[in-house]
Symmetry: C2
Subunit: 319 residues, 2 copies
């Protein structure tokens, strides 16, 4: 609420009419558990209409407790996710930004004091974004010109096509912090297997995710923790069985894994491959109620595009 | 946010999709001051659309500081009030409730510690509402049958008609606490003068308000503090020059003035006469961007209906 207040004050000065929608963690969990099923499937119309009538959407993640969904029913989470899809679709038509305001809950997940965590967060956010964009431009150019991508690493050999798709530089306009270049794999192209060595969170923590793809579709999967949630998410709809995003992290201000995808996916020396909804700005067409980022360290590892090594053990070829 | 969370949890259990809209006091003031004028006159469309798409509106007043508007520009306050009118109109079509959650700011205004203030608040709210309604039914019956009302008191002799209008019992459905019976004076009927001995708040505190009416319209007014705000409010539009509500307080759990109209207007041994918008459920037709309640103690004083004393020095004739 602190940051929301400051953002809204600045927005008002520029002539905006800011509307603060709060979503306390305790309410979120009770709503998920207690809303009758016939109501849970319904898209909240007031929020949908408010989103339609808005120009900009700024999401500030600032949970009092990051584990409120730890023991939640994953089937109900998928249902709620699907009911919210029209709102997400509207949101993506707007100018939007997702950022984070430090809380003790987030610091705790990251294994830091709140003071340390604030330093970490602001190191990642307050950067020379012009210089960052210059660095990312080189990578974008490689990705725009590439057709076949191959990722090699521990228990990993995955190939997919990004031919004709557009690589997008995350210059901190949509995410703060920014620091990744991402695109949308062709929907039928992913073949092979990938091992995500870092945990992925979707309310709950899912660890050691392994996915096997054939012609773009997940044909096998496993996880060492919360595999049932992985199953629910993959099986949400047709689009959630396919890749929606391939991203490469470039933010060297993010020097450690903090269990928060907004930061982790930007971490230098990592890639992430999301299942579900693709971004239209990449030319992606995959639709889904789900967009779930899972990340993997690439040290050791190799990113190969059209047979050429672009990154090896975390270092780009031009570095 | 505490109470909002609890209310939303309960609403979700009943199948609702609660949306929490927060309005921090500091933001409210900066928005009023800093929004360019051409934007301030615009009705916020996202909030309007969200209101239209909602079934129920619950307003929880819980300010961190009750004086954020103390030095605000009253002209801008009137402009913003007018821009919000379509939202208020939508809200009145819904099921709605206004209540309050104790804060130190509210306790401070009331001259109490937070613990004392909580006791006061819950004494006013947690009552035997069936018994309260029985008491109010007698008063409603008198008001429904009456044509002419005359209020006598210190510097006060005001007459107006409520003929054909419907007296509404505040049984805590629209306001919590409830405890008043209110109606809408006929728009052209008020004649005479009234002295409001208790302060009235509209962002700022306006004290010793004196109004003189002729054929329903305010023809003279004065205040000992913030008279300019009184002027702005009266002159907002055609409807703000006329009475919109006449109410009689009946809640004996409210035993003192706490500078909070939600409570003060329900205080036993008081009446309130609002300028501006009338309630349709009373049969009222007066329209305005303003609805401003001002209250007056009736001890000493007398409420006379069709020549018969209904209340004298705070005691109803049947008590």
């Amino acid at each position: 609420m602190e940051l929301a207040t400051e953002v809204c004050k600045e927005a008002a000065r520029q002539g905006a009419h800011p509307l603060i929608v709060a979503y306390p963690t305790e309410f979120a969990r009770v709503a998920l558990d207690s809303t009758p099923l016939e109501d849970l499937v319904v898209t909240p119309r007031h929020l949908l209409e408010a989103m339609k009538a808005s120009d900009v959407d700024i999401i500030i993640v600032s949970p009092a407790n990051t584990r409120v969904f730890e023991s939640a029913d994953s089937k109900r989470m998928a249902i709620r996710s699907k009911a919210s899809e029209p709102i997400s679709e509207e949101q993506l038509k707007k100018r939007w930004n997702v950022t984070l305001h430090p809380t003790n809950a987030l610091a705790q997940d990251a294994g830091m004091s709140l003071t340390e965590y604030k330093d970490f967060v602001y190191s990642a956010m307050i950067r020379d974004w012009d210089a960052e964009v210059d660095r990312m431009r080189k990578l974008k150019s490689d990705m725009d010109n590439a057709s076949e991508v191959r990722l090699m690493g521990k228990d990993t050999d995955l190939s997919f096509s990004i031919k004709g798709r557009t690589a997008v530089i995350d210059d901190a306009k949509y995410n703060l912090p920014g620091g990744e270049v991402f695109t949308a794999p062709l929907d039928d192209s992913a073949t092979g297997k990938i091992y995500y060595d870092l945990p992925s969170l979707y309310g709950k923590e899912v660890t050691d995710i392994r996915l096997t793809f054939d012609k773009g579709v997940v044909v096998d999967y496993s996880a060492s923790k919360n595999e049932s949630l992985l199953k629910e998410l993959i099986e949400t709809d047709e689009g959630s069985r396919r890749l929606g995003e391939f991203g490469i992290g470039t933010n060297r201000g993010i020097n450690r894994f903090t269990k928060r995808i907004l930061f982790d996916e930007k971490m230098a020396e990592t890639v992430h491959l999301a299942i579900g909804r693709a971004y239209k700005e990449c030319g992606g067409i995959n639709k889904s109620a789900v967009h779930w980022d899972m990340i993997k360290t690439m040290k050791p590892g190799e990113i190969i595009m059209d047979g050429k090594t672009v990154q090896k053990d975390g270092k780009f070829s031009w570095e």
